[in-house]
């Protein structure tokens, strides 16, 4: 599904290398977790994959189902099936959440040559999915993320993900700021989306989320590359011991 090979990324504005030869492969149907200390480049990786401005890829590649992601516009990547649940979801004043969702869904359908959803079908779908995530009709009408609590913003990201049905879902610290119940709702939402032709890359600091969303593989990232890759037990180890030993081990 997603294949990242020897990715080197620096900031466009200054001479600062953030990703330093990162390689990673997420096969179809799998859930991979990335853990790593603050500032190791996890969000940068997710932004570079989704096409945000401000970064320069100096070396390496990233492909989604064999197609090079790095040459595509952000909206083309989305249409190709990539989705990023933002660590810090963006507020868009004056634009209704529902309008935003619908515009996004139909833009992607159009890009894929599908019919747009009728307003009736769309409403039915969004109401059902919102109810699953305990997102109130009021939140659907309010402007995108404006005045949403931290946890509401994260749930809203998952609602977008559920509506857009991407094939490769990247979740950047979606668990941060969620209360215990919300964590369960979000996890249930993600688990419901798990399927043989959909993959997840879950960035998190806490083992807690991984209790709900069982990863197939856990990667430890530090200083712009993958330090170690293992099974779910790696997350448990981090939770108990921190990164000290892992970092020392790698030198």
């Amino acid at each position: 599904m997603l294949k990242i090979d020897n990715l080197h990324v620096k900031l466009e504005s200054e001479d600062k290398q953030i990703l330093k030869g990162l390689s990673l492969e997420v096969p179809a149907g799998q859930v991979h977790a990335i853990m790593g200390p603050n500032g190791s480049g996890k969000s940068t990786l997710s932004y570079v994959l989704s096409g945000r401005d401000g970064y320069e890829v100096t070396e390496g590649s990233a492909t989604l189902n064999g197609e090079s992601l790095l040459d595509m516009e952000p909206e083309e990547r989305a249409a190709a099936g990539l989705f990023l649940a933002f660590q810090y979801p963006v507020e868009i004043p004056g634009v209704g959440n529902m309008t935003f969702l619908r515009t996004a869904v139909n833009a992607q359908r159009k890009a894929r040559g599908q019919e747009e959803l009728s307003s009736g079908d769309f409403l039915k779908l969004v109401r059902a999915k919102a109810a699953d995530l305990h997102i109130s009709p009021d939140m659907l009408k309010r402007p995108v993320n404006v005045g949403f609590s931290g946890g509401e913003k994260k749930r809203n990201e998952i609602l977008q993900m559920a509506m857009l049905e991407p094939r490769m879902c990247i979740m950047d610290e979606t668990d941060s700021g969620l209360d215990v119940d919300a964590m369960r709702l979000v996890s249930d939402g993600v688990n419901a989306l798990r399927s043989p032709d959909r993959s997840f890359l879950v960035i998190t600091h806490y083992q807690r989320l991984l209790n709900h969303i069982q990863p197939d593989v856990v990667h430890i990232m530090a200083n712009g590359r993958i330090l170690k890759t293992g099974g779910p037990e790696l997350a448990l180890q981090v939770e108990e011991e921190g990164y000290g030993d892992l970092l020392a081990e790698a030198g």
């Binding site: 634009v95 515009t103 996004a104 869904v105 833009a107 307003s119």
Partner: protein, 506 residues
């Protein structure tokens, strides 16, 4: 309407926007109609003024009124205080009257109107048949619930082509006709009110208009009548090198209520064209007038070639107690816009509102805003202005709020937001505030921001292309004003916002 359908409709509105961006070229109304025209000779002098008056079969008093204005105009100079830059206008190098030959004998009904003219309005999407307007709103079973009827006065260059729903309006006592017809048929009303809000000598362009106005709309809503449908005038400039000078007079008698819409378009031409209109609104005791404009005159091309010079004087006089007026404007067109729809709050407890979206892209220049003149006690006014600048455009908000000594306990609230797209455009805010009593309060808030890259990236990461993303964000920025528009207009306006900004990113 319940909450669900409301949501549906709003959804529909935004879908339209997005489709508009995807499907349309830049200026959609830039085509022209090939039609034989009668022109007055080029240039301006007393004979031309007399000729315009004669073409309209006007009574002597009207001719004199025009000539008085013309003589006054000769003594005046063009105002230069606006933040607008344009070459000197040669007032002798244009036509002041252009009429389709087929309109020489005024058709008795729309059935007799030249099919070419009817086709023009059809192509513009303006219904001249007496039918429901269902702009984008999904039709319900009986076809009525969501559809609203709108009566139209269609003005083509210098003449009114026809007015719909006249009979039905007449039954309610509402007079809706062209101003030239009103001068002939309702002289007592015209004499009493014409020039009573915008005097002949008000300003250079209004005075010019008083001398040479050719047509426009006239509305009278009698006491206590709620106008049974929305009224609208659609102005189309077609002829080349011809100025359009329309005059609109609306009188809302005591306790009456009307919502009036105005739309305007013009063909793409390489030369600039002059448009100097006057709109006067008289609002009497407890009456309410809502005046909405979508101004979409041809804005000129990317390099600033062609486009309309739009100098407009619009003013409402809340003459008696508790009169209420609301101006809503969406200004997307014209190379130059000079326009300040104003409210004179003379009656105690009268209210004025001004909601505006002004978009300037490419080489467009807009200097627009409002005046709220508080004369009566306990008067209220509210100004919400959203200015968007893109390309190399300059966009100025100019607003005046005055509280006169007698206007005790009055309030004004002004919010003035500017949004910049790109770094070659400009936004300026010029508020003038005068408070001459101690019990009144004026609040002014202003913000200037740039279209936010994070917002655009967020939208694009969800699959929208850059233009859709900009349209969505900008529509969000304008939401408060869009919501003040009647539904049909709101859809058109949203689409227009998107189209006007085409090419402003990327």
């Amino acid at each position: 309407m319940n909450a669900t359908t409301d949501l549906d409709v709003r959804e529909g509105v935004d879908r339209e926007t997005v489709e508009a961006v995807q499907n349309m070229g830049s200026y959609k109304y830039g085509w022209d109609t090939e039609i034989e025209m009668d022109y007055a000779p080029k240039g301006l002098n007393e004979d031309i003024v007399r000729l315009i008056s004669a073409k309209n079969n006007e009574p002597e008093w009207m001719t004199e009124w025009r000539l008085e204005a013309y003589r006054r105009w000769l003594t005046m100079t063009e105002p230069k205080w606006a933040m607008l830059n344009y070459p000197v206008i040669d007032y002798q190098d244009q036509y002041y009257y252009a009429r389709p030959k087929s309109m020489a004998v005024k058709p008795k009904s729309l059935d007799e109107v030249d099919p070419k003219l009817l086709a023009t309005y059809e192509k513009l999407g303006i219904p001249l048949k007496e039918q429901l307007i269902l702009a984008g709103v999904e039709t319900t079973e009986d076809g009525r619930a969501d559809g609203r009827r709108v009566a139209v006065d269609a003005v083509f260059d210098s003449v009114s082509v026809g007015t719909t729903f006249k009979d039905e309006l007449a039954k309610a006592g509402v007079i809706f006709c062209s101003i030239s017809e009103a001068i002939r048929e309702h002289p007592e009303l015209v004499k009493k009110y014409l020039g009573s809000v915008v005097p002949q000598s008000d300003n250079y362009f209004a005075t010019l208009n008083s001398a040479v106005f050719s047509d426009g709309s006239f509305v009278y809503i009698p006491k206590g009548v709620r106008c049974p449908m929305e009224l609208s005038t659609y102005f189309r400039i077609n002829a080349e090198n011809t100025g359009q000078f329309e005059r609109t007079l609306i009188i809302a008698d005591k306790g009456s209520h009307v919502s009036y819409l105005e739309g305007c378009t013009a063909p793409k031409r390489d030369t600039h064209q002059l448009h100097a209109a006057v709109v006067e609104i008289v609002v009497l005791e407890d009456a309410e007038v809502k005046y909405s404009t979508v101004q979409n005159w041809y804005p000129g091309d990317e390099e600033g070639r062609g486009g309309i010079y739009n100098f407009v004087t619009k003013r409402a006089d809340c003459r008696e107690a508790r009169a209420k007026v609301m101006w809503t404007q969406v200004e997307t067109g014209s190379a130059i816009t000079w326009k300040y729809p104003s409210c004179i709050l003379r009656g105690d407890e009268s209210q004025g509102e001004f909601y505006s979206i002004a978009i300037a892209n490419n080489m467009q220049q807009a200097d627009t805003g409002t005046k709220m003149i508080h004369l009566g006690r306990n008067t209220r006014s509210r100004i919400v202005s959203k200015g968007i600048s893109a390309g190399r455009a300059q966009n100025t908000y100019r607003g005046l709020v005055t509280m006169h000594p007698r206007a005790t306990n009055s309030r004004n609230y002004t919010q003035c937001d500017s949004l910049l797209i790109g770094d070659q455009c400009g936004a300026h805010t010029v508020p003038y505030i005068e408070v001459k009593n101690t019990s009144s309060r004026v609040e002014h808030e202003a913000t200037t921001s740039k279209v936010d890259d994070d917002q655009l990236f967020y939208c694009r990461s969800r699959g929208m292309d850059e233009e859709e993303a900009v349209a969505l964000v900008v529509n969000g920025f304008c939401r408060e004003v869009l919501q003040a528009l009647p539904m049909e207009f709101a859809m058109e306006a949203q689409a227009l916002v998107a189209i006007s900004l085409e090419g402003s990113v990327g």
